[in-house]
């Protein structure tokens, strides 16, 4: 015999029930709202920070994949130009032929002693292919005064801070002294055509940007560079690309070229990667707290209604229906809290994204590839997933109260 089941308008009933005690509901809902808002903002914020660091780091330092001479990494701080990658004329087209490759950029990094108006200071000389660096090292965006140097000409763009230190401006000339690939010293006089502000403290106070050909001449590196930066069509392909490029360029273990994806290059990235699990723990704790608050409230509402449930059971409502009803109440609370929290978190995230958080002062003492302003990176996905997590948390929190509610037999429940 099949009994026809009546459809119980669960959500409507649950919604009504949340109105029994408005104040209590508001408080319970606010617990979930706080957690969801924190989650939405937190995700946007962390993505913003990581995005800033990763973007800046890959563009100015590591590329998605960086190709250098073996042994360079250990001596990186010395900027050894004697460790370099030769034969760009065949190498670059070979790399470019790769399907996932979007851009290939040779660069020369060199330590230089720079003589300006009477005083000299050590600086970082960067020779780049100016025609192709837009969107990567992005020198045109850094020009604060004057213009970019032109390929083939003895011109230089220097960090504004650095220019002030050695006392030169646009139109002046500087003499740079640097090591060649054969460890002798060589000098070059360059005309300052522009002053740069990058927002990166460690660059602004030491940087000299010159056309790649000038750096090649100075370092005696014709058709060579100290590094080749490879950018994939998507940063997610970096690791894969590094692997296949490694096999291609470095078929035998004794080969003298190292190919590293950005992920393997920086302790900074390692540190930032430890941030994610830590945040997971923190958000987990937040949700547990919010969940406990819901458990508490729902236990009380369930206890209050013990007789009511007994009566409903006596009238033939199934236990599963009562459980479903209480779970729905949890979900309704989660839904309310989730929506309010999502609205709040999204508003804050989008607002902060529009104004930014200025941490320039704090960043001055750190040599990190990090722009001085943090912009959270809000995405709809974060709002949606935070809300869902809030709803699920609330639903899960209702499980124990629901179990308590149907634990008693109808007779027992009515006697209470």
């Amino acid at each position: 015999m099949s009994r026809k089941r009546n459809r119980i308008p669960l959500l409507r009933l649950a919604w009504r029930n949340t109105h029994r005690n408005t104040r209590r509901t508001i408080l319970t809902v606010s617990a979930i709202a706080v957690a969801v808002a924190a989650l939405t903002f937190g995700l946007s914020y962390i993505t913003g920070i990581l995005g800033n660091a990763v973007d800046t780091y890959t563009r100015t330092e590591s590329g998605h994949v960086r190709i250098r001479k073996s042994g360079y990494t250990e001596r990186e701080r010395l900027l050894p130009v004697y460790l370099n990658v030769q034969d760009l004329a065949t190498l670059l087209p070979a790399i470019r032929a790769h399907s996932d490759v979007k851009e290939v950029l040779p660069r020369i990094r060199s330590a230089a002693l720079v003589d300006g108006a009477g005083s000299n200071r050590p600086g970082l000389l960067l020779g780049i292919d100016l025609a192709h660096e837009d969107g990567y090292f992005n020198p045109s965006a850094m020009v604060d005064e004057g213009r970019l140097p032109q390929a083939g000409r003895a011109e230089v763009l220097i960090g504004r801070g650095f220019g002030e230190q050695i006392g030169v401006g646009v139109g002046d000339s500087v003499t740079v002294l640097a090591q060649t690939a054969y460890r002798s010293l060589s000098g070059l006089t360059l005309e300052v055509v522009g002053l740069a502000v990058s927002g990166l403290a460690h660059l602004d106070n030491s940087l000299l940007v010159v056309p790649l050909d000038q750096a090649q001449e100075l370092a005696d590196l014709p058709d060579a560079a100290t590094e080749i930066l490879v950018f994939a069509t998507d940063v997610a392909l970096a690791e894969q690309l590094a692997q296949s490029l490694g096999q291609e360029l470095n078929p035998s273990p004794e080969s003298s070229i190292e190919v590293l994806s950005w992920l393997d290059q920086s302790p900074l990235i390692r540190m930032l990667n430890t941030v994610r699990p830590m945040l997971g723990v923190i958000f987990g704790l937040l949700l547990v707290m919010a969940g406990l608050i819901i458990v508490n409230t729902m236990l009380m509402t369930v206890m209050e209604r013990t007789q009511e449930f007994g009566m409903q059971a006596a009238l033939g409502m199934r236990r599963s229906d009562i459980v479903a009803l209480i779970l729905s109440e949890g979900v309704v609370i989660g839904l309310l809290g989730g929506l309010i929290g999502a609205a709040l978190g999204t508003t804050v995230a989008v607002w902060v994204e529009s104004v930014g958080i200025d941490v320039t002062a704090a960043m001055r003492s750190m040599e990190l590839p990090f722009q001085g302003t943090i912009y959270p990176d809000w995405r709809l996905l974060y709002t949606v997933s935070s809300t869902l997590v809030g709803i699920v948390t609330a639903g899960m929190a209702a499980v124990y109260p629901a179990w308590r509610a149907v634990r008693l037999s109808p007779a027992e429940a009515l006697r209470v």
């Binding site: 209590r24 924190a38 001596r75 608050i293 508490n296 941490v359 002062a361 704090a362 960043m363 003492s365």
Partner: protein
């Protein structure tokens, strides 16, 4: 007779007793609420003790190895200090030191001569910071370099040699006993090169020193730079009981008619670092605040529920003559006790965790690898358990919990007895 003044209140002890027993009335709820509080307290405590641990160690590190408590410069030096200029030097050091040592709160002083130099191992050339230190007599009274010598030994006065930062030695691939060439430019502009043996390695945890600096006896530095009898700075250590700002003010007063001199405290020298510390504090504060807000919501909610459940009891107490303020006190107490319970729970776990790390240390290298994490600390930090702070924050949890109960307690206290008694 209506004017008779009768307390109409309960004794504090009774309030406590009632609060405590009411907590036990619904134990499950009490434990759940206490757990939310405990989680918040745990997180805040651990985070704060870790951060304070790191900060304190950073400050100590700066003072012990880099800035001392204060430094005295010739006027003009401080603004250009990044360039390590030799144009603003101090002379008449003995007399100057005697003056400073006479200032109340000053424990020791020592002259130092900082200069830019290139170091070479014959293959590579690297620009770094050289520091001439007074080996006999005074540098170790102000700085703690001898304790940071991880290999070889400390400098000996009058003997050629240098102490090299561990990171710098690693970069060059050199060790104690190896020789390196130090290239400098004298104040007059002439280049000077000197071969020196490495007598020891210093590992302070401070990247500026470990990765970029070497130390030589003061006389050698003076000789190389052609600056006999001169120093770029006079570093000053304060006595442990001295107050920084007062002592700096006194020193300023003591030297003001002497010459054109600048006195800078360590905080002023490390403004950038202090800014970093402040930003980190704010960011972490915001995160911790969210937890505190949730704990507050939890307590407010629970006390509100308790007051709903006990409406009739409230009516009865009021009928017997307990004033509204008495009702309020009862619920505030209940909230405070919940907070204290949760606070105790959370603090206990926090102390256990902190104590664990205090004994084994928290190995930052394992977490972050070998990088500049923005704090000049050794790889392993030892968070401190501070009983006074612990007790104070525990009590604060109670106060906060009482504040969180304020709304429901005030609501309960406004009941009209008749209505409350009618409540089912």
């Amino acid at each position: 007779m209506l004017a008779e003044s009768i307390p109409g209140r309960l004794r504090p002890l009774t309030i406590l007793q009632l609060g405590w027993r009411n907590l036990r009335r619904n134990r499950r709820r009490t434990w759940i609420t206490a757990t939310t509080v405990a989680l918040a307290v745990l997180l805040v405590q651990v985070a704060v003790s870790l951060l304070i641990g790191i900060e304190q160690q950073s400050f100590d590190n700066l003072i012990n190895y880099q800035t001392a408590h204060a430094k005295l410069y010739a006027e003009g030096y401080f603004a250009n200090r990044d360039e390590l200029p030799l144009d603003y030097t101090l002379t008449g050091l003995d007399e100057l030191q005697a003056t400073i040592r006479g200032v109340r709160g000053v424990a020791a002083t020592t002259p130092r001569l900082s200069f830019s130099a290139q170091v070479s191992n014959g293959v590579d050339l690297y620009a770094c910071i050289g520091v001439g230190i007074q080996v006999t007599g005074s540098d170790h009274d102000v700085f703690r370099i001898p304790q940071a010598v991880v290999d070889g030994e400390y400098l000996k006065s009058g003997e050629d040699g240098l102490l090299m930062g561990t990171g710098l030695a690693e970069l060059f691939g050199v060790d104690t006993g190896d020789w390196v060439t130090v290239l400098t430019k004298t104040q007059a502009g002439a280049y000077e090169a000197l071969d020196l043996p490495i007598v020891g390695l210093v590992g302070t945890g401070n990247p500026l020193i470990d990765r970029n600096s070497f130390l030589v006896p003061l006389e050698i530095a003076q000789y190389m730079l052609g600056l006999e009898g001169a120093a770029t700075e006079l570093a000053i250590r304060f006595s442990p009981t001295a107050r920084d700002d007062e002592t700096i003010a006194e020193i300023t007063r003591a030297v003001q008619d002497l010459r054109q001199l600048d006195v800078k405290g360590w905080r002023e020298m490390e403004e950038d670092f202090m800014a970093l510390v402040r930003v980190k504090r704010t960011g972490q504060g915001v995160f911790l605040l969210i937890f505190i807000v949730l704990a507050v919501v939890g307590i407010t909610n629970t006390i509100l529920m308790a007051s709903f459940e006990r409406t009739r009891e409230i009516g009865m107490m009021m009928a017997m003559g307990l004033r509204g303020s008495g009702i309020r006190e009862l619920f505030l107490t209940e909230g405070a006790l919940t907070g204290l319970l949760g606070g105790a729970l959370g603090s206990l776990v926090a102390v256990a965790i902190t104590a664990y790390f205090a004994t084994v240390g928290l190995d930052l290298t394992a977490m972050y690898g070998d990088m500049d994490i923005g704090y000049p600390v050794k790889d392993t930090i030892y968070p401190a358990v501070n009983i006074a702070v612990l007790v104070a924050s525990w009590l604060l949890t109670g106060v906060l919990a009482a504040l969180a109960s304020f709304y429901p307690a005030a609501r309960a206290s406004r009941h009209i007895p008749v209505e409350a008694l009618r409540h089912v």
